[in-house]
């Protein structure tokens, strides 16, 4: 296992909210990627936490691009670097809205074309930049400003949509498990062609949790099986780290839900629905890992 470097590429002047775990995740992503990296960022919290021109909170170049367009921009950049024989990492760092909703067309196209880049979706399960409206990644029962009674639709299963593109490397990760994240970014960047990493990032204002809680909540997501850490290399799935134990024994989902204000008022029926989906997801992953599907 590679040592996590002391170097910092996300500087201390970010304008992220206190306790932002998207910023925490990004810090480890950049440590893994190193200085020969360009970040492509669509409209999202990351476009805000950079600070205001002429300042920048990053020690690598950041290219901001329109909300729907990150993967297309990265396609152009990646081909351009390749045309000059450069090995610069092209990393998209996009929110869940920019990935599963408005940006999905450009993303799908870039994956299908085999673009050499790493696409990271950091998932705070809502539109943080604009004040926490629902996204396609918001789970059932979560309150957002456009689902004041709790969301009734299911979280979009972006990982299985990405899987259908048969890309060389795909993984999930969590801001609460930075070493695992660091390793996965290293692997992704060492794998030619497109890679996709989906990171769960608990968000204090959006999830209505205190600013010292994102890591606790992120760990609880894994312990309850609500979030599963895995990676898929050339089609081979491995369930990673703490999630291995969770496959056998997990904490009750309510321990995750009750930590968060956004689930206040969730109905029993919705909790059962989440339970069922969670169980189905774990069963499908177990089967896939065992080579049974």
């Amino acid at each position: 296992m590679a040592e996590i470097p002391e170097d910092e590429y996300l500087l201390k002047c970010t304008t992220a909210c206190a306790g932002c775990s998207a910023a925490l995740a990004l810090r480890y992503v950049l440590k893994a990627a190193g200085p020969d990296t360009v970040l492509v960022v669509p409209a999202c919290c990351t476009s805000v936490l950079q600070g205001i021109y002429p300042n920048t909170a990053f020690a690598v170049p950041v290219y901001n691009i329109a909300f729907a367009a990150a993967a297309a921009c990265a396609s152009g950049m990646s081909e351009a670097f390749a045309s000059e024989g450069k090995k610069t990492n092209v990393i998209v760092f996009a929110g869940d809205g920019g990935t599963v909703d408005i940006g999905i067309q450009a993303l799908s196209g870039a994956l299908e074309r085999g673009t050499n880049f790493l696409y990271i979706c950091y998932d705070n399960e809502a539109y943080g930049n604009t004040g926490m409206q629902r996204s396609g990644a918001t789970p059932i029962g979560a309150r957002t400003t456009t689902t004041p009674g709790g969301k009734t639709d299911t979280k979009k299963d972006i990982d299985r949509i990405i899987a259908a593109h048969n890309i060389p490397y795909q993984a999930t990760a969590s801001a609460a498990h930075p070493k695992d994240l660091f390793e996965k970014v290293k692997t992704a960047l060492a794998t030619p062609g497109p890679s996709f990493i989906h990171i769960l990032v608990p968000c204090p204002p959006g999830w209505r949790i205190p600013s010292d809680m994102p890591v606790t909540v992120g760990k609880m997501a894994v312990k309850t099986g609500m979030w599963v850490l895995w990676e898929r290399k050339y089609g081979e799935l491995t369930i990673n780290g703490p999630s291995r134990a969770v496959m056998k024994k997990r904490l009750p989902l309510k321990e995750y839900l009750s930590l968060q204000g956004r689930f206040k008022g969730i109905t029993e029926k919705q909790v059962n629905e989440l339970e069922q989906q969670l169980g189905k997801n774990l069963a499908m992953l177990a089967k896939e890992e065992a080579g049974e599907c």
Partner: protein, 369 residues
């Protein structure tokens, strides 16, 4: 009912009163409050509409198109990049003659990201076939949104209508608001070409040059009909609800020798500037333009015009001053580009533009000396 509200909440309240069947919208700063408020109305059962939380603005406009062609009332709201992302479907909505109403909260365009007031978003949709209004205060945002449904759905028009209000300086400020019960002011929507399985027809199929040309002319004809319909909507609004509107809002213009011409909140600010100038013995007036499409006739009468532009056509000039110059080629214009990206422009600044005016020239506030 008398209350206080932000510009955004006033728009949402007007939409609630107009009772659309379908609202499809996507959040963007500074419009978010409109969609959040409507989501809340719908969740609380105060509004009997289908709310579609689409995944992009292209889909927001397209969902409104899909709803509208079945003959029901639909609404959306957006801003800036959201409006631009709809662009293809804005042409579609007008071309398909659908009376969709949209609030656009005026905001600048990137890069770099900037969320504050500018009119470039609306100006860049000038030629899509939408009627466009610009409003100056919270009450007017409410009233114009209500009028928009009546105007759009009038069978002599059948074109979509955009109500523009300045980001933050109007969308987020609180003013008093008198809400009304529109009743038969907005008659039930009747779309003569609505989709009807009992009367099958093909919509939008390949069309030859002659028919295409005719359809475009019909849009233009509807636009030319629209001033009469808008005036009627404004007069009827006055009769029923007591507030008067017109193509322009004029302030101390009668004996004025110089007119400040502007859109939106800059035009409101100009009224204060007029008082300052009058106190100093300068005969100024303010002409705030409310209709942008159709562009109204202006009573400029050989006076000096100081035109404030919150949007620019690169390589040509301030958009509003260009519009006026092309309609009135002899007009004496001092074109002031000011307020881009939320740049602060005070009434003292505006009074200064008038005092220091250099007719026939263009001035970039904060850049030019």
């Amino acid at each position: 009912m008398l209350t206080i509200a932000t510009g955004n909440k006033a728009v949402a309240a007007a939409v609630k009163a107009a009772k659309p069947a379908v609202v499809a919208a996507y959040p963007i700063t500074p419009q978010t409050e409109v969609v959040e408020q409507i989501a809340e109305y719908v969740t609380a059962g105060e509004m009997d509409a289908r709310y579609i939380p689409v995944e992009s603005e292209h889909s927001a406009m397209t969902a409104c198109i899909g709803a509208s062609i079945t003959g029901v009332r639909s609404f959306t709201a957006t801003s800036s990049h959201g409006l631009l992302y709809m662009h293809e479907m804005l042409h579609w909505a007008a071309g398909a003659r659908l009376p969709i109403v949209m609030a656009n909260i005026n905001r600048s365009l990137g890069p770099g990201w900037n969320v504050w007031a500018e009119h470039t978003d609306a100006f860049s949709q000038r030629d899509t076939g939408w009627l466009q209004f610009f409003v100056g205060d919270v009450q007017e945002a409410y009233d114009t949104t209500l009028m928009a449904f009546r105007i759009a759905e009038n069978n002599d028009i059948l074109l979509p209508v955009m109500v523009n209000l300045d980001g933050f300086v109007l969308s987020h400020i609180m003013q008093s608001l008198e809400t009304v019960e529109p009743g038969d002011y907005i008659p039930p929507m009747r779309l003569p070409h609505r989709i009807d399985p009992e009367n099958p027809a093909g919509y939008g199929a390949m069309t030859g040059p002659n028919d295409h040309f005719r359809f475009r002319w019909e849009i233009e004809r509807a636009m030319r009909n629209s001033p009469a319909v808008i005036r009627d909507a404004e007069e009827e609004f006055f009769r029923q609800f007591g507030r008067k509107y017109g193509p322009t809002e004029e302030y101390r213009c009668e004996d004025a020798e110089v007119l400040i011409v502007a859109l939106g909140t800059l035009g409101k600010e100009a009224e204060v500037a007029v008082d300052i100038l009058r106190d100093a013995g300068i005969k100024a007036g303010s002409m705030r333009i409310r209709w942008f499409r159709p562009f109204p006739d202006l009573d400029i009468g050989g006076r000096d015009l100081v035109v404030l532009d919150r949007g620019y056509s690169f390589g040509y000039g301030g958009v509003l001053s260009s519009e006026i110059r092309s309609k009135y080629p002899g007009a004496s214009i001092y074109s002031v580009v000011a307020g881009l990206g939320g740049q602060e422009v005070t009434y003292d600044d505006i009074a200064g533009f008038v005092r220091d005016r250099r007719m026939g020239e263009e001035f970039w506030f904060g850049v030019d000396a």
